[in-house]
Amino acid sequence: MERYPLVVIGAGPAGMAAASVAAEYDLEVLLLDDQASPGGQIYRNVSRASADLRSEILGREYYEGLTQVDEFLRSKINYSPASTVWDIDTERHVCYLRNNRSYQVSAEHLILACGSQERPMPFPGWDLPGVMMAGAAQILLKSQAMLPASEPVLAGSGPLLLLLAAQYLNAGLRVQGIVDTTPKSRYLESIRYLPGAMTAPRPLFKGLSLLKQIRNAGIPLYRGASNLLASGDSQVRQLSFHCAGKRHRIDTQIVLPHQGVVPQLQLVKLAGCELTYLHRQQSWSATVDKYGEGSVENTYIAGDGQQINGAELAVIAGKMSGLQVLRKLEKIDLSTFERRVKPLIKAKNKIEKARRFIDAIFRPSEELNTPSDDTMICRCEEITAGAVREIAKLGCQGPNQVKAFGRCGMGPCQGRFCESTVAALIAEVQDRCISEVGYYRVRPPIKPITLGQLGNAVIES
């Protein structure tokens, strides 16, 4: 089995930063990423997208990713794209598939920079073709230069909806409306974090300018919407919802829901690291020390896996973990370490403080966490919220027993799109706090591998 002093998983802002800083001091780094080009989801395809797309449609923040990607590609890193990690154990043995073959490497230090995924947003009809996560639609724009073929409806909450609507406007496409499910109470709840947000005000101003662009374009904004329902036979035809005391119906072929992002923790769990429930972000995240080291020694979690804080902080977190690895391996001395880490910590604190406002205002609505009984919550095994409530009534203490009793979370996505809902439903039925209900134990392979590939896996016992 090949051994590396450092293996980084993920080529988003955090992973690239960690690998680049390590390479500065000639550390031998292997970086595995499942995409074909670096950038992660945030800067997806930035090195290949056309200049027009980058600057005129996607905007400055996306374009900025190019600098980091260029730097990363220039560094001396063993970069392995299109490599899908399917298992990690607590001794930092990493198994991945590349070109239909399974490989195994051993990492002295491991940095997991697996980013985030969109928070599931279950409502009746979200499984219909034509309903697609808004982030997915944005990926299509970034990496495939593709736009909806007809005017879509955006629904949910979070800055991405405004950004996507604006990017579509830049590309000459109007959205039919933005159905904003942010409960009205959130505005009041978030006011006290506003001063903090002003310490790093760029996201706030950005949000306001997007809002202005959308308003000026005359796009309807339905605030405080609830009871979403997507309907249609084999394809979505209509989105209906409650807003301002009445039922609205919009005929559409494309519905793009979104309610923020949550950390992707499959590999973090497999690596044996502990998680902490972050009430502020309504999600689990890796338990880490100041430099991102998890509860398993020499295993680090950088970027959104620590908590959702955006690309800028992901870069800082990646660098900090990389520097800590260098220090431990005695590639840099303590004074170099401290000199480089100090400004990073300062910047980190500032951004974190500003983030509170976004967390508070865009905290998902209770209704979307614990949807109506007829809503399908497990898309793989097609299990409804009602079925999960019935099982929770038997006294199952957490998602794992619920999974055993009702198959929820047993499909190929391994709970990525039902875990948070299942936990919320158990908490609701049993009147408990979601943080004590717990989370799914993850099972390898976290990406499908064929029996043939597994049987031939390069294994050294």
Partner: protein, 101 residues
């Protein structure tokens, strides 16, 4: 369901979608290629209801299709190639049939 931004420079290649030859840009993934023609790509193994690509980042597994005879490939994670044969899946794979062909 989706279209390419007008004016995007591109080379077209031929692939087969459910045995029908179609021309698609050579720099997109299979999921995107499907979305140029259709919002749906399979019928589920549990209830047979229609599904289409959903997350485009390999997390949801809703874009499972048959690629060059192999079932359950994540369409959003594979680039198109000339001559590629993509098939929509209806229900679970039939192993016995796969063996005979």
């Amino acid at each position: 369901m989706f279209k390419r931004i007008t004016g995007t420079e591109t080379t077209l290649i031929e692939i087969f979608l459910n045995d029908v030859p179609v021309m698609v840009p050579d720099d997109i993934n299979v999921g995107a290629a499907i979305l140029l023609r259709s919002s749906y790509c399979r019928k589920t193994v549990v209830s047979g209801s229609p599904r289409g690509p959903f997350c485009m980042m390999g997390a949801c597994f809703d874009c499972f299709v048959e690629i060059n005879g192999k079932m359950n490939q994540q369409a959003c994670l594979q680039q198109v190639e000339a001559g590629m044969r993509i098939g929509f899946q209806v229900g679970p794979a039939n192993l016995s049939a796969e063996e005979t062909c």
